[in-house]
Amino acid sequence: MKKVFTALSALLIASTTAFAGSFPERDITNVVVWSAGGGTDVSNRVVSAELAKALGVNVNVINKPGGVAGSIGMSHVAQKPADGYTIVGLSESCVTAGVQGGWDKKMDIWYPFIIGGSPDLISVSANSPYNTLTELVEAAKKNPRAIKASAGGAGSIHHLNLLAVMKGTGAEFNFIPYAGSAPAQTAAMTGEVTVVVTSLAEQQQLLKGGKLRALATLTNSGQNLEGVGDIPSAFSAYSSLSEHLPISQAIGMAVRNDAPDAVKEKLSMAFKTALDSAAVKEWAAKNYYVLSGKTGAEARKEFANLESLFGWTLHDLGAAKISPEKLAIAKP
């Protein structure tokens, strides 16, 4: 009898460890909080496909855009069980969901895996009269709010970059919100707006095709783009920008932080394998992405920093609906 018991309990233990160790047993859904074809969407699709190879199950990417800073997609995933079968595809812009009233949670509910990002550029319509950032800023100073600018949705990283440009240069643009980077760029092509701030990855085809004209990168260093030439750093014309910039993208995916450690571990390993794959590396180089690969505590820290930076910047700009203090977000 005792033997049977030991055998049974051994079996039970074996089966439970097997259960934890056998994650994933079925397909994983990656809910991307931005619309299809954007930077977050495509990065998540490329990495998810490699992740699927590493995990041996499908990783289905779906889009759930909308709400405030991706709050609808994030709430959706946060309501799913913390079993690792539903992950969220997100970006740095999602950290503003709390202060903008999209939801009442902080980013610390996530355990993120950071893919990386592409530097932001400030560009203008191809037929606009501005050839340098200085020309544009001077024109905007002469006629405050007369020049229209797009930068994705309100509270997106591109919007924050645009706000930082306004703050650092003293130029005032009339910000027109769009559902994402792609429609914002289209608006600059149709002439509905003059200025557009989105990332190099999102703009490069249009810059090379002469549909948009790049004025400056919003990072410390300029960028050479074949067929276009050198794009200078905005910092060289306006050194005061370094007080507000750069605000870098952190595109990635995340699982609920209260998921079992074994699941988080397994996903982290698979994520690192995916980022190391030739396919992802080649894709990143071709599309002007800088890969990060941060996971675990490191990635949580980066998101916490971004949350505090974004939250308090928005608060200072009067664009935050809910005080970051109320959400216990530390000052940067």
Partner: protein
């Protein structure tokens, strides 16, 4: 010389793709799957392409495109099956097809309607493909004519025209249904400033009303109740032998087909506006230009041919801005954009330089996809019609279950069911009061577009409405909307008849002299 070269690439792509049996299998498999996706309420072309995208990751670009375009073309076509057979469109794109397809099916000519749809869809896709290869640079310009002003007007036009066309009773009822749809579309956080509207603090309503549960609830539930209540016989078994494409009818409707294809391509080109509006606009134009518009809505073959040609021609149109500017022309095309980028192809103005033969290859694949759809369609239609032989009392409850599953399948969200059932019940009473349902659904689909773009347009113009009257495309759209509304008003009809009588009496007097 260039054209010659292009033809060479076109045919060599066709042959190289078709020389591999696995490609043929994939093509027909995905096309078949697409038709099923389109036919099942709740599963749409957009969802189908999205689900298939990650599965294609391991394939080459061309092979992946065979799968994805096969799915896309099949799904746009498949929506017409339930529209014709049971008056529940499988996708919003097929809603206009139900207008004449279902009456035909009730007459026992469901097989004929399916045969016509199949051929019309095929021809539509092919004409769309030709436009893609011949006129892409020319048409690209259209996409850039559309700014917030035009998008708002286009959305309003879509709602007005579907309201105008579907009213069997007073035309006002169609417009009222459209406005109800717009009202439903207002629910949720507004997309520019995130202000919650009509959400009653329910987080499920934050993202607004999903289209699919509304589509299924509003079309499906009233139809199921009606058929079961009135014991409508869905088919006369003797009559569905003729499925093969009747080339004579198709030839007879050639002018409808050609015009509808042009409309479909044009609407496909406009970013973000897709197959659903194309079907309605084309149906409306067919009715307005027809010699006997009174036949429309009672089983007029020209009606089905028009809407089905247009929604499939839309595919080629939607690919034009996608490939030349990186702007998807329709929701499923947005999914294709993701798929292309996943395969390392960034569509945009440089694609012709970076990947010169890509354009032609896509056209070849689109042709294959439409061929596969046609062959699958001809075989499937014969079998599908037999479904109607199943006793109604068994068949419709199954449809009901499919409706529930279809609503739930979208994001596996139980809230969608809480949404679908009340909307279905309200829709039942609305149809009892002779309010058409299609404009309500179109209102929900186009509402966010109308709302967001109107407010953005006013932001851009600092609150002035003047730009609406200063932009050529906007003026054109306003004129069309005003005309559509005016010509339906009783006062216009009376004016018209009084002018006619005056003219004819004058002529009478003159001839007497």
């Amino acid at each position: 010389m260039d054209l010659f070269n292009d033809f060479g690439i076109f045919f060599s792509t066709l042959f190289s793709l078709m020389s591999s049996p696995s490609n043929i299998l994939l093509l027909f498999g995905c096309s078949f799957l697409g038709i099923i996706f389109g036919a099942l309420p709740g599963l749409t072309a957009t969802l189908g392409v999205a689900l298939l995208t990650t599965l294609t990751y391991g394939m080459g670009v061309n092979t992946a495109l065979i799968a994805l375009l096969g799915m896309y073309v099949g799904a746009i076509y498949g929506g017409s099956y339930p529209a014709i057979l049971i008056n529940i469109p499988g996708t919003a794109a097929a809603a206009a097809t139900a207008m004449d397809g279902y009456p035909l099916a009730l007459k026992g000519e469901g097989g004929r309607a399916l045969g016509l749809t199949t051929t019309a869809s095929f021809i539509g896709t092919v004409i769309g493909m030709i436009a893609l290869v011949m006129a892409a640079p020319l048409i690209t310009g259209i996409a850039l004519q559309f700014t917030s002003y035009e998008f708002f007007l286009l959305a309003i036009f879509g709602i007005v025209i579907s309201g105008t066309l579907t009213s069997k009773d007073l035309v006002y009822k169609g417009w009222i249904a459209g406005l109800l749809g717009l009202l439903l579309a207002c629910i949720g956080r507004d997309r520019l400033q995130f202000f919650p509207r009509f959400t009653f603090d329910m987080p499920e309503l934050d993202g607004g009303i999903e289209v699919v549960p509304v589509l299924i609830g509003a079309f499906g539930i009233p139809q199921i109740i009606k058929v079961l209540r009135d014991r409508i016989k869905l088919s006369q078994p003797k009559d569905f032998g003729r499925i093969l494409p009747e080339f004579s009818t198709v030839l007879h409707n050639m002018k409808h087909i050609f015009r509808s294809a042009m409309i479909g391509i044009g609407i496909g080109t406009v970013p973000g506006v897709g197959e659903d509006i194309a079907g309605w606009v084309s149906y409306g134009t067919a009715k307005n230009t027809s010699k006997n518009p009174e036949n429309f809505g009672k089983g007029e073959p020209a009606g089905i041919v028009s809407s089905e040609t247009a929604n499939n021609a839309c595919i080629g149109g939607a690919l034009i801005p996608l490939l030349t500017l990186g702007i998807p022309g329709s929701p499923p095309a947005a999914m294709l954009l993701g798929a292309l980028m996943l395969h390392g192809v960034t569509p945009g103005p440089m694609i012709g330089l970076e990947n010169p033969s890509f354009f032609i290859e896509i056209c070849a694949i689109l042709l294959l996809a439409s061929l596969a759809m046609w062959i699958n369609g001809i075989f499937l239609a014969r079998q599908v019609v037999k479904l109607l032989q199943i006793p109604t009392a068994v068949f419709l409850p199954i449809v009901g279950v499919l409706c529930v599953i279809g609503s739930y399948a979208l994001g596996l969200n139980i809230f969608n069911l809480y949404l679908m059932v009340p909307i279905g019940i309200v829709a039942y009473f609305l149809t009892e009061m002779k309010y058409p349902i299609a404009p309500l659904v179109i209102g929900v689909i186009l509402g966010p577009m109308a709302d967001e773009n109107l407010r953005r347009a006013l932001m851009v113009s600092d609150g002035s409405f003047m730009p609406f009257f200063e932009r050529p495309v906007a003026i054109l759209l306003i004129l069309v909307i005003v005309l559509t509304v005016l010509t339906r008003l009783p006062i216009y009809q009376r004016l018209k008849s009084s002018i006619w009588t005056r003219i004819s009496s004058k002529q009478g007097q003159q001839s007497e002299k």
